[in-house]
């Protein structure tokens, strides 16, 4: 009899441990962070962690319209760096990103932003042609053109993606194929290799997780 009770107690303990572990899944934060003293709503001072955020930006999009961070403010978005004449990793990246785009096409809280790193050739008209041929229409996926300095700094300092000119590379530029997931507060919450299908599948799973964080 005693044995039965202790068994029951042990199994109850296990069940409670396992259910207690189930908490809401949250995505990690990437980049630099520091502690800051902030005042909460009641005016009480407390220490909070401040994460790296994407600064304000302004670029021309595929319709030659000046587009700023206002387009993505209050939304989560996926950012990447590419160029239209790239024959190596970009076609694969955008083939995979297209499937993400199609999955979240009807969700107004999700956007896509592709920065070109070819400041010489990829003027807005070239980007428009590329977008159309890829099969993208409308403002949900922005293709952005900017000066070398502004785009390269944004890539390396803020999105943490390495880009560069390289005359020895086949197409003249080198860059990493990361798809970077940004939350509604401009913080980096994920980076996925756009050339790998399994990582892109993970991105598709993580977008709803990130959206759920804001549903309260």
């Amino acid at each position: 009899m005693n044995k039965i009770i202790s068994y029951a107690a042990a199994s109850l303990l296990f069940v409670s441990i396992f259910t207690a572990c189930k908490q809401e899944k949250k995505l990690p934060f990437y980049g630099e962070r520091h502690a800051e003293v902030v005042k909460d709503a009641a005016g009480v001072e407390k220490i909070d962690t401040v994460y790296q955020t994407i600064p304000n930006w302004a670029f021309l999009n595929q319709d030659s319209v000046l587009t700023t961070n206002k387009a993505t403010d209050g939304k989560i978005y996926v950012a990447d760096f590419f160029f239209t004449s790239c024959t190596t990793i970009c076609p694969t990246m955008h083939r995979n990103l297209m499937t993400v785009y199609n999955d979240f096409k009807s969700n107004p809280d999700v956007m896509f932003v592709s920065h070109t790193i070819d400041f010489k050739y990829d003027k807005p008209s070239a980007l428009k042609k590329y977008a159309k041929k890829l099969g993208v229409d409308g403002p949900k996926w922005q293709f952005l053109y900017g000066t070398k300095d502004s785009v390269y700094t944004l890539a390396e300092k803020n999105y943490l993606v390495a880009v560069g000119e390289d005359s020895t590379a086949k197409d003249g530029y080198i860059h990493q194929g990361y798809l970077v997931l940004i939350d509604k507060d401009r913080r980096i919450r994920g980076a996925y290799d756009g050339t790998k299908e399994d990582q892109v599948e993970q991105l598709k799973k993580d977008i709803p997780v990130l959206l759920a964080e804001y549903k309260k």
């Binding site: 024959t87 083939r95 099969g135 050339t195």
Partner: protein, 140 residues
């Protein structure tokens, strides 16, 4: 009786030679197909897709058997030197430039060509690399 045996041995030998010849071509085809697949994966797949489906209007699909057949003498040149003309595939126009792959040797071009023309629903059979070398010398 003896004549009959000799005749049948001779006949058997002829059949064996024919069968073994076909086998050699089948082996070559399999050889080209497996090497061609590796080259396809590393050079072609990023634009033309795993199943030759293409990419929007940027890269044409490789599933138009009629196009492949009518242009079969130019395929090797497209693979090695790229393409810079409007191509009509499945009734649609494709205007983007295809890059050249000068680093591919004739045998590589032959293998990847055989792979493409015998995959994705295409079935054009074997082309030896000597034939492909000739085609490559006559590229425009």
């Amino acid at each position: 009786m003896r004549k009959y045996i000799i005749n049948s041995i001779f006949l058997f030998a002829v059949i064996a030679i024919i069968v073994s010849c076909q086998n050699q071509e089948t082996i070559d085809l399999q050889n080209y197909m497996s090497n061609g697949k590796d080259i396809y994966k590393s050079r072609c797949q990023n634009c033309h897709g795993e199943n030759g489906e293409g990419l929007g209007e940027l890269a044409p699909p490789l599933t138009d058997s009629v196009f492949l057949k009518t242009n079969k003498n130019r395929l090797a040149c497209f693979i090695k030197n790229g393409a810079n003309e409007t191509l009509v595939i499945h009734g649609k126009e494709y205007k983007e430039k295809m890059p050249a792959f000068p680093e591919l040797a004739d045998i590589d071009v032959a293998q990847v060509m055989v792979y493409i023309t015998n995959s994705f629903g295409n079935k054009q059979g074997f082309v030896p690399y000597t034939e492909v070398s000739k085609q490559l010398q006559n590229c425009k």
